[in-house]
Symmetry: D3
Subunit: 156 residues, 6 copies
């Protein structure tokens, strides 16, 4: 197996940065998400909300280290239409992770696994690899996932 090195840990120096947006072209969301990740965001997600005057808006959420706040603000103010943002301090608890290779009928495929207090609790086939197999071999994506999960289960 191909063991990774990250240890389970809690990071207390995180921020959740939020902006409510009701006057922006929603086409831009994926571009903004990509840019925030490129500038160091740990996670980016959007929540449908109902704003002033019953307007259907979107709340942008960015999970990021405190030290990267200015970089996030630069992206948010230049790429979205918001006139302000807010943030709250947060702690992130991350499992120890490693990448494991399993042998399937289509060759070796990667599984990301997670450990909580030394115990394996998560296993997730790598989406991009599975998608590629499904496209190349013309098989249902769910069948690829099923095979990967089953082979992982046999091996552990």
């Amino acid at each position: 197996m191909d063991f990774g090195h990250r240890e389970e840990h809690t990071d207390d120096q995180m921020l959740i940065v939020q902006a409510n947006i009701d006057d922006m072209n929603p086409e831009w969301t994926s571009f903004i998400t990509d840019k925030l990740f490129a500038e160091g965001a740990n996670d980016v997600y959007w929540i449908p909300i109902i704003m002033k005057k019953g307007r259907p808006g979107l709340m942008l959420n960015v999970l990021v280290e405190e030290t990267r706040l200015a970089a996030m603000e630069a992206v948010i103010f230049s790429e979205t239409t918001t006139l302000g943002l807010r943030y709250v301090h947060a702690s992130c608890h991350r499992l120890a992770r490693e990448f494991v290779t399993v042998l399937t009928r289509w060759g070796p495929l990667t599984v990301k696994v997670g450990y909580h207090q030394g115990k394996l609790v998560q296993m997730a086939p790598e989406f991009k690899e599975c998608e590629q197999i499904a496209l190349t071999h013309q098989v249902p994506l769910k069948q690829v996932y099923e095979e990967v999960r089953s082979k992982f289960k046999e091996a552990t």
Copy 2:
């Protein structure tokens, strides 16, 4: 009591007109809703959806008589950003409705009631009137509703 005249009926000549919109300023939704009602829409509502490329969009829905289709299209094409719309045929079953007056501590207030096969099944205080009472008398809106509902119950 002040009985209205509408009979319970089913109208089979209705359309549900829909447009998926992912590139429009959401500020415009209330204006568009108002304009569609002004042109004869029976109902207008918006549904948050996820469109191509994972974009958070809005589906505009208009319930309208078949004969008013062109008027709805005129509004939708001139006021939204869509390049197309779709519609399905629908039937509407509407209860017999009447407006009833109940006497509350703040004076007479209106209740809209609905009958299914001659039986009273719905009663709804008029929002605008209750809101006005709450503002004028500085009482919680929910207290106004409670009073109206209770007085209606006593009277029937």
Copy 3:
């Protein structure tokens, strides 16, 4: 294997019945759902929508045979607060289904499978049984699912 008897088929005599509701206590939704199923609904689901004046409402949807319309209307008008409803004609394509038993470390468990044109395309562990095993044996529910899926895969 324990083969069921339902054949894949399309039913063209179905209705989708809808009501937009913006003035009802949401606590009642599960009760209403249960009652509609008890009266013959094939499916019941709720969609968050934005209604007139920007109000956050719920659209009740009932999938049902045309012959059961009156029974659905009776429930909808007596249990919800709506003054009207609408319906569109729909066709339902249902896969051939059967229940298969697989042997797991916790004993036999049921899998519901689906066939499209004679080919097995779906397999779903029965939620209620898996939940019971998770509770009784104090194991994660996802582990029960994993085991059932894996055993099914081995057997086919």
Copy 4:
């Protein structure tokens, strides 16, 4: 009346624990909710969100005392598919609550009431009891609520 004992108070030792999940079977949500409540969660709720690559995900939220964090983490990591979670510190302001009995045509029923600074501001019929009456007596649930609210209003 049957007065309860809880006093209005603010608890500053609370956490909101969150995990964004885009690769889990949604069938498991109710089981996970139940388990978190069983382990001491004060509240559990799910928010539809849009995650990386435009994926429709769910954000699990758990409101819980700081001292119960480890128990929540144990459930979240063993039952969901997440590789991490985050939490923010929160304060909870809870009203004084008591249970009051009102006499209805179907016998005594319970109302949960809430006091803010000594003033009665909330009253909520107990859902489970009302649902039971609706099922037993074959009356609309909304009629049961209406009766309970009306009787409570008369008594106060």
Copy 5:
């Protein structure tokens, strides 16, 4: 140009106040929003959530200065049906703002602009003014926006 006076700044004394509500008439949301703004809220928004027993609820969110907490609580407890609320501390970063006038074919119209570190990053036509022009001159609202944006671009 008509320069405003607000400077870009970060306010660390803010609260996000939240209440999950599953038993309230959604008609009341706009009234509650208005009242919270009138009592000093900086922002008010609602998020559709899924609560205990799978109930579709609404999470009320109020962004407000710490010193206005009691006023928000008074509104929330008297106008909604909640028995409790929670809040987290937040910082708000607000851009420097000013109102600029541009000359359009329909006369002068206002644009709200925002500056981040002295650089113009936002420009937003005033909705109310544009809506009025659209109504008065019977032109599409999007055309009014387009004209205002274009004239602003020419002038800068």
Copy 6:
């Protein structure tokens, strides 16, 4: 200008195909969307819904010509986890469309325009091109859109 050839028209031979899904890995949605488009879908979108037992599910929607129904069913049954689907007949009204080139500071860029009854009602910068310019020239995406819209306005 580079005029396209499509005429405004209404197509009455369309279907809206729907499947409610509450037991599928949401990671698969983009793959399924892509596959449906590849097989001839005119549009694909997902709606967050609340299903039986309060489960947060997703409703898959496919807008497609009646003649492509079997191809859509093949994808839906092989790639999702549903045991059934439904469809309703729909009409699609599509504007006349053409692609117009405008000259910007970054070179020529494409605008998609739409005509309703011979009148230009829509203009939309091509997202992919604008995104590429924003990435290549390191300018905000919204600035690219603003420039394209402004240049188009000048030219017409």
